[in-house]
Symmetry: C2
Amino acid sequence: MSDTVQETRGRILEAAAQVFAAKGYHDTKVDDIVSKSKTSKGAFYFYFPSKQDIFMALVDAFADLLENQLKTRLDAQASGIARMDAALRVCLDTFGQYRALAKIALVQATGLGEAFEEKRRAINERFSRVIRDNLDRAVADGSIPALNTEVAARAWIGALNEIVLSWVYTATPDPAESLPALRRLLLQSVGVSEIRIREFETQ
Amino acid sequence: MSDTVQETRGRILEAAAQVFAAKGYHDTKVDDIVSKSKTSKGAFYFYFPSKQDIFMALVDAFADLLENQLKTRLDAQASGIARMDAALRVCLDTFGQYRALAKIALVQATGLGEAFEEKRRAINERFSRVIRDNLDRAVADGSIPALNTEVAARAWIGALNEIVLSWVYTATPDPAESLPALRRLLLQSVGVSEIRIREFETQ
């Protein structure tokens, strides 16, 4: 039985993620992706006009994955502050699980210049919105004091990006150590009380 | 009397900053910089092999300026926490005063791809070091509780970058409002007490 349309596209994307991770963006050829995916050049170009397009599609797939994980996990939390903590865990876990993909998206993309920079900013905006909404809820339900949630959301996004980037580039700071430190730092930054932070830390 | 070597180089750099700010990186031609600086094409190419080189030199000049301002202002502060607060003020003031230059360095540089990305990371490392040293001092003199200062320094750099970038791109959030909010956020993040934050806020 032949693949459905979605299956073929998905197989090509999955192969592309593996090839990009192994060879890097610049040394990857469309032929490598085609042969890894066991599809055809025709199928590839049917879904993706170019190597840059499949790369951007991978970045979108990663952002979608992260957003879906966020939605699922956040809906299970009652208070605003528990939602924020869950959001941080999801971001850090997802980057941890998909380090190869994160590396492709964050490091190799820099060579793509403005086209990628626009996408990067659009994705930042999207997640900055998610963080801001959750901070607004936490303020509304009294878990944290009133604050400029737009500035806080952007600061969080910037901090998360920088920590993940430096980890991806240099393998330091060690995630096992840096992630709890970052979590405490971000929770403290918006005025979560020491007692609540300790509660989250022992969960 | 003719210019000294340093004066000529400086005049060309200053003219370049103005032309880049007015026309953007891509539309700027070496001839524009030469004519604005009232020097000669020979002088330009004596100091700078290409447009990209003078651009990178401008970015370095901005980083040097920021580092010098930091040194001067920090040496005047006694406690670790006062030094950290002064460092934040200096960063935000300097970006505010040289917004055109910051915009060139942060936005237009994205089109330069990997060459610029390497420089950006090197500058981030340099300032991350400055922040980390000051956080270490603040921990040592007891102004803040012990924490992972490497993670905190990177988080601060990331947060500062993101706020400045989004301001440079979209003119929001309004600096007058966002800078005090960011300052409070960063000081809270490393556990500076509410009393000390209020002291700094009224200075």
